[in-house]
């Protein structure tokens, strides 16, 4: 088996798989190294499936808007897998005046970037989604947002990239990146040393220790979050939901089950021993939150709960960047819990960055060297 390719991608999540697919489409030979036994085992298969523009930082908003316009609508057809893309809007809900203020601020910023998003009141909210309780008094409404299935999207990119000849190796954790004559060249794993002229590190929070082997640091920490899913319920609503507090989010999937994420407030103090395990208080707390928003779901049965780690960046915005001081090295990580919706756009633009030296969307605001001390 050849250990050489044009590009090595470290990380078989949706970012790595999508980039591999778009590179392979350009005729570039790619090897993807995945540390675990499963493709898409990290945040790619543990997130809530939001494909939204509203509520995003203005630095990543152009990527989100471009992806929703150009890639998501045709993705199922392109990958030959139903990614269940549903574009029926996003409601970001609020209950208090403080929430209203947060939502108004986010809305004003997004409108300035040209996004169709506006504030609506309780009656308008319940006209869109009659199941929401009277406690909900305000929301931002973005009709072009939506949701998709993270599992089939991640594995769909994998399947299609593999068909195009991308080599995927599992249980191949990267111990070390090595430079030769100042430029990136080797990726060291327990079983083999792989070589390429270009290397993309897209390994979630593990990217930090990998990048450290060539003296590069991305300031991010793993942060555990928990999700749960109900049994299939009759179709109720199609919007993606979030809250001003970012304490609860979710949607009803095509299958009928509701996927919800939430927090108990103890996530940053989590005792996980290296495995993202659901805590005993997490699912219960989220259930109480959901019932307050959706009294009708009080009898819905929870069939599964899980946890995952965000790669939470210092400024909660991803790092998508070439590394000039290590020629040939590229980074796409630190997505901070909102990478899934922009993943196709990231894959497309990073493939352009690697193969052509420039990308359709200007990514300079997401550079790796943007972090400065406070004085």
């Amino acid at each position: 088996m050849s250990k050489h390719s044009d590009v090595i991608i470290i990380g078989g999540g949706i970012i790595g798989n999508a980039t591999a697919y778009y590179l392979a489409k350009k005729g570039v030979s790619v090897t993807v190294l995945e540390a675990s036994k499963d493709i898409g085992i990290g945040g790619s298969s543990r997130n809530g499936g939001g494909v939204r523009q509203s509520g995003r930082d203005t630095r990543e908003l152009p990527l989100a808007m471009w992806g929703i316009k150009n890639l998501w609508p045709g993705l199922s057809e392109e990958l030959g897998v139903d990614v269940e893309y549903t574009q029926k809007g996003n409601l970001r809900l609020g209950k208090t005046e403080a929430h209203q203020k947060i939502l108004q601020g986010l809305t004003d910023k997004a409108v300035a970037c040209g996004l169709d998003v506006r504030m609506i009141n309780g009656d308008e909210i319940r006209a869109i989604n009659p199941y929401l309780s009277d406690e909900v008094t305000c929301a931002s409404w973005c009709p072009t947002d939506g949701h998709a299935n993270p599992l089939t999207a991640t594995l769909g990119y994998y399947k299609k990239a593999r068909e195009l000849g991308v080599r995927f190796i599992t249980e191949a954790p990267c111990f070390e990146l090595r430079k030769i004559k100042g430029a990136i060249r080797q990726v060291v794993t327990p079983d083999a040393i792989y070589e390429a002229d270009k290397v993309l590190v897209a390994a979630g929070f593990d990217s930090r220790k990998i990048l450290a082997t060539v003296g590069i640091d991305v300031p991010m920490m793993p942060l555990k979050m928990e999700c749960l899913v109900t049994e299939a319920e009759p179709p109720m609503f199609l919007q993606m939901l979030g809250t001003a507090d970012a304490d609860f989010y979710g949607h009803q999937s095509k299958h009928g089950s509701f996927v919800f994420g939430g927090s108990s407030g103890f996530e940053h103090l989590n005792k996980d021993n290296g495995t993202p395990i659901s805590s005993s208080i997490g699912a219960s707390c989220t259930c109480r939150g959901i019932i307050k928003y959706f009294p009708a779901l009080v009898d819905a049965k929870i069939v599964r709960a899980w946890a995952g780690w965000l790669d939470d960046c210092a400024d909660h915005v991803p790092v998508i960047s070439p590394v000039e001081e290590v020629p040939g090295l590229y980074i796409a990580c630190a997505f901070s819990g909102h990478g899934f919706g922009i993943a196709p756009a990231v894959g497309y633009n990073v493939a352009e960055m690697i193969a052509d030296g420039h990308s359709t969307i200007d990514l300079s605001a997401l550079r790796y060297d943007r972090f400065k001390p406070k004085q």
Binding site: R162, T170, E171, A283, S284, R288, A305
Partner: protein, 109 residues
């Protein structure tokens, strides 16, 4: 490197079998043929099959079909089943209503 980790290894082309219409995952009604096809699409682990097809994601959470799926993958890849991990088990072990799961007293002082 274990051969199972090379996702480009040649496992031959998909050949349909007479009993491909048998349902393996009863909760989500996934057939043997669908699972075998998914293996040829590159899904080499029980977790991947689960996420790709929903086999083992229904009410029983794979407690019925988990082993069958594992054996199908092993046979298709030509490895012994012991080389494959079972799907990750998740709480709760039985479906629980939200009002029950969320029913604990939280007193904020």
């Amino acid at each position: 490197m274990k051969s199972i980790n090379d996702r480009s290894r040649n496992i031959g082309s998909f050949v349909s079998q007479l009993d491909d219409t048998i349902i393996i995952c009863r909760c989500e009604e996934i057939t043997k043929g669908e699972i075998r096809q998914a293996i040829h699409d590159g899904m080499f682990t029980v977790n991947e099959i689960r996420r790709y097809l929903r086999a083992g994601m229904g009410l029983c959470q794979g407690q019925t079909c988990g082993k069958l799926v594992k054996y199908l993958i092993a046979r298709e890849l030509g490895v012994i089943p012991d080389q494959l991990d079972p799907a990750t088990s998740r709480s709760p072990m039985r479906p629980v209503e939200m009002k029950v799961l969320g029913n604990e007293e939280v007193t904020h002082v």
